[in-house]
């Protein structure tokens, strides 16, 4: 994973550099026009927030069973990235909503649930930071609950039928819109993986330093 890191970051950088061109070349959406282009920077981080929350939950559940620090490092990194990518989605979403719906925010189930999930992972980070000794186990327990809400987020819009576009929109997108979307998604995904690798590596080295410190004490 260490050797792949520069490659991953390079590929992500390349996609982010060229993405504006690809997005600019995509056709204008008939009703929303130029504003719709924010979609390419809203949907990928929003989707990655969901996936990341799920990933964090799975890693935490494994940590609770196996009790190996590695799983906790990955879960911690995934939780931080859930908050970061969630923040991107939370900023781009209202910008788009203001133009498309006329308001910054509506309390529709999908928006509410996404905000809640984001808050659960912020509280995860608060717990880890201020919980003191043994908080990694407690945080793992919390993340399992955070994961349990994620299917509800995904399904909620399909049950309650609301103003937010249905999730079935994505597979039925015309090719002209789908290409830049998945291009941007690939960029965000590569960025996610490289940041995750970096973050886990940091924890790994922190643990190694702690171990060396303990050895030198003896």
């Amino acid at each position: 994973m260490r050797k792949a890191f520069p490659l991953l970051l390079g590929a992500a950088g390349l996609i982010f550099l060229t993405a504006p061109v690809v997005i600019a070349r995509a056709p204008f959406e008939s009703t929303m026009g130029l504003v719709q282009k924010i979609f390419y920077f809203h949907m990928p981080p929003a989707m990655l927030m969901l996936l990341s929350a799920f990933f964090c939950g799975v890693m935490s559940a494994i940590y609770l069973v196996k009790r190996r620090a590695q799983y906790d490092w990955i879960a911690h990194a995934a939780a931080e990235l859930t908050v970061v990518f969630g923040a991107i989605a939370m900023v781009t979403g209202p910008l788009w909503a203001r133009k498309a719906w006329g308001v910054w925010w509506v309390w529709d189930p999908r928006l509410t649930m996404s905000l809640l999930m984001w808050m659960i992972f912020v509280s995860y980070l608060l717990l880890r930071r201020y919980g003191g000794y043994g908080s990694e186990t407690l945080a793992a327990g919390l993340a399992v609950f955070g994961m349990a809400t994620s299917p509800f987020v995904y399904i909620s819009v399909n049950i309650w039928r609301t103003i937010h576009p249905l999730t079935t929109v994505v597979p039925t997108l015309p090719v002209d819109f789908a290409v830049p979307l998945w291009y941007a998604f690939a960029g965000f995904l590569l960025l996610y993986i490289s940041l995750l690798t970096l973050r886990v590596r940091l924890e790994e080295q922190r643990a190694a330093v702690d171990l060396l410190y303990l050895e030198s004490e003896e």
């Binding site: 809640l116 717990l127 043994g134 186990t137």
Partner: protein, 226 residues
Amino acid sequence: MSAFWRVVWIVARKDLAIEARSRELINTTVFFALSCVIIFAVSFVRERALGDAAAGILWVVIAFSGTLALGRTFERERYADTLRALLLAPSARPAIYVGKLIGILGLLFTTEIIVVPLVALLFQARLFAYPVLMSALLIFGTIGFSCVGTLFAAMLARARSRDVLLPILLYPVTIPVMIASVRGTGALLDAAPQLDMARLWIMLLVSFDVVFLTLSLWTFEPVMTE
């Protein structure tokens, strides 16, 4: 299985016996709930209560006083240094969890018996028009809130800054339960009561309860192990 329920009964009876003698939690919780109701009355009642405010007020009061009670029950265990003794007992950990949960449910249901008529009285809300549906909402809503609350309060019992962390962790996770409870109660309080809607929310509450209770039973053991 009978050993499991015996432990559940012993833990719950212990909590209820302490409570019956000291009445510390029930007195403080009920008084706190009353203070919350007064604050809401000041904020939301002009000529008469605003729209369906009563449903929201009722559930916010239950959530706030529930958090207070949850924090206190485990504070008591920690203060007397009995939490470790409880966990060292040669019995299934989930049984201890269920026992604690029943103790807290007993406390919250008692609070509700006082708070619900009070809200109905002060906000002219027809909370007793559909006793069966309303009780179902109260029962399943409270179970959903308390089963997560008991787990979080137990795991935070030994953490630093636990008083602040409990509501921070508990509210985002239990808001789905709150939405279902408030919307369900609101459907019953409507000028034209929507019984089907209320039933749908009750079904949703039951499914939340099942998911959260299963997860809590599963996580209690690893989370409480040092």
